[in-house]
C-alpha cells in the first residue's frame, strides 16, 4: 500500500516536472494580467469612516450608568443604524453635497455597521476621491444625528471620531489580487497538465509496451541528436 502510494506521488511529481513550463507560463501570465488590472486599470477607491456613540441624555439627577440603559441602547443600535441608512438621511446628504446621483447608487457607497455588544456604530463612505469620501461621511453622520435626535429625543448620539482624508485606497487590494492570481494560476495549470496527461495515449515506458502490446522489449534506445 505504502509502496503504491509513493510511486504514484513520484509519478505525479514527474508529470509536473515534465510540464513545468506550462505552470510557469500560465501562472506568470495570470499574475501579470492581474497586476496590470489592479495597478493601472482599476481606479483606487478610498474609504472614510466616522464612529458615533449612542447613549442617554444626561438628565442631571442620576450620573450613574444604569445597566438597563446600556442594554437598551445596545438593542437600539440596530434601529439607529436603520435610521442612518434611511432614504431621508441619504437624500438630505445628497442634496447638501450637490451630487447628481440617485438614492440607490448613493446607498451602495455607504455602509453602517453597529459594533456588537457596544453602543458604538460605524458609518463609512467610499469614493474614488479621498476628500469626497470624507465629506460624504461627515455630512451623513451630521444628518443622521439630526434625524436620530428628532425621532428619539431621549437618546443622545455623539460623534467619537470625525472622518479624516484617507491616505491609502482600500481597493484594489493589489497584494491579495496577485496572491489569488498565483494560487489560481497554479491550480488551473495543474488541471491542464493532468488533463493533457490523461488524454495522452502514447506509449512511453517498457511497462506500457508490456501492458498494451504484450511483446517483449528487446532494446531501449535513449534519445540522441
Amino acid at each position: 500500500m505504502d509502496e503504491e502510494m509513493s510511486i504514484d506521488l513520484r509519478e505525479l511529481l514527474e508529470i509536473i516536472k515534465k510540464r513545468k513550463s506550462i505552470i510557469i507560463l500560465i501562472t506568470s501570465l495570470l499574475i501579470i494580467i492581474t497586476g496590470i488590472v489592479s495597478f493601472f486599470i482599476l481606479p483606487p477607491t478610498y474609504e472614510a469612516s466616522v464612529s458615533v456613540l449612542i447613549g442617554k441624555v444626561p438628565d442631571g439627577t442620576n450620573y450613574q450608568v444604569q445597566y438597563n440603559d446600556v442594554m437598551m441602547y445596545q438593542k437600539l443600535l440596530k434601529t439607529y443604524s436603520e435610521i442612518a441608512k434611511s432614504r431621508l438621511v441619504a437624500e438630505k446628504t445628497i442634496r447638501e453635497l450637490n451630487k447628481d446621483i440617485d438614492y440607490e447608487d448613493f446607498q451602495k457607497t455607504i455602509t453602517v455597521t453597529p459594533q456588537v455588544d457596544t453602543q458604538i456604530m460605524m458609518l463609512k463612505a467610499r469614493s474614488k476621491d479621498p476628500r469626497d469620501a470624507m465629506e460624504t461621511v461627515n455630512l451623513l453622520s451630521q444628518n443622521f444625528i439630526e434625524e436620530a435626535m428628532r425621532l428619539y429625543p431621549t437618546g443622545n448620539v455623539q460623534i467619537i471620531d470625525n472622518a479624516t482624508i484617507p491616505d491609502k485606497p482600500i481597493k484594489p487590494k493589489k497584494k491579495l489580487n496577485i496572491a489569488i492570481a498565483f494560487v489560481l494560476g497554479i491550480m488551473i495549470s495543474l488541471g491542464i497538465i493532468f488533463l493533457l496527461e490523461y488524454m495522452d495515449n502514447t506509449l512511453k515506458t517498457e511497462e506500457d509496451i508490456e501492458k498494451y502490446l504484450n511483446i517483449p522489449v528487446i532494446g531501449t534506445i535513449p534519445k540522441h541528436e
Binding site: 502514447t202 515506458t205 502490446l213 511483446i215 531501449t220
Partner: protein, 231 residues
Amino acid sequence: MSDIILQKDPKSPVSEAYRTLRTNIQFASFDKDIKTIIITSSGPGEGKSTTASNFAYSLAEIGKKVLLVDCDLRRPMIHKKFKISNQEGLSNLLLGDEYIYFNFTKILDNLYVIPSGTIPPNPAEMLSSSKMKIFLERVREQFDYVILDTPPVITVTDAQILSTMADGVILVVSSGEADRDAAIKAKELLLNVNAKILGVVLNKIDIKSRSGYGYRYYYYYGKGEERKKKK
C-alpha cells in the same frame, strides 16, 4: 562521415544500447535460424532507419556478415544515413535480370548496404514479386544477417508483405510519440500474416524523465568512461 552513432561515437551510451539490442537478437536466434530481420513501426518518424542502420552496424562490429536493404521504396532513408548514392538500388536490382552481379555498397568489410534505388510506381507489387523472394533467399545464404528497413506497417502493406518472407520482425516504438492504438493495430496486422515478432525496440527514451529511470545507470557508466579517457 555517416550518421551512424556506432561509428561516430562508439563509446556513447546510445551505442551501448544498440549493442544490447544486438545481444538480445543473438539470444533470440540462438536455436532458431533468424537471419532476415524486418525493422518496422506503426507510424512514420519513429526511427526505423536509424535503428536498422545502427543495428546492422552493431552486428557487423562483431564480425557478422551483414546486408542492410532499404525496402522503403516510398520514402527511402538508408542512403542518407550512410551518405551513399541512391542512383541504383533495390528497385533497379529487382527490375534487372542480372541481380546476382549487382554491386552492393560496401560500408565495412562485412557490412553491405543496398539503398532503395529509383522510386517505382508500384512498391507493393515489386516487394511481393517472386524476384524479391528469390533475392532474399540468395542473400540469406551469402550473409549472416539481412536487415530490411520497411515503411510503417499501418499506412502501407509493404511491411506486411515482407514479413511473410522474413524470419522475424522488430517493431520500433518511439517513446512518447507512438500512439497506443496504432501500435496495437500494427501488432495485429503483423500477426495477421503470421509474422514472428521478435520484440519491440523502445526508441527515443528520455533518460532525464522517470520513463528512462533504469537507463541512467549505463548512461552514467558511459559518461564515466569518457571522463577517464580525458584524464
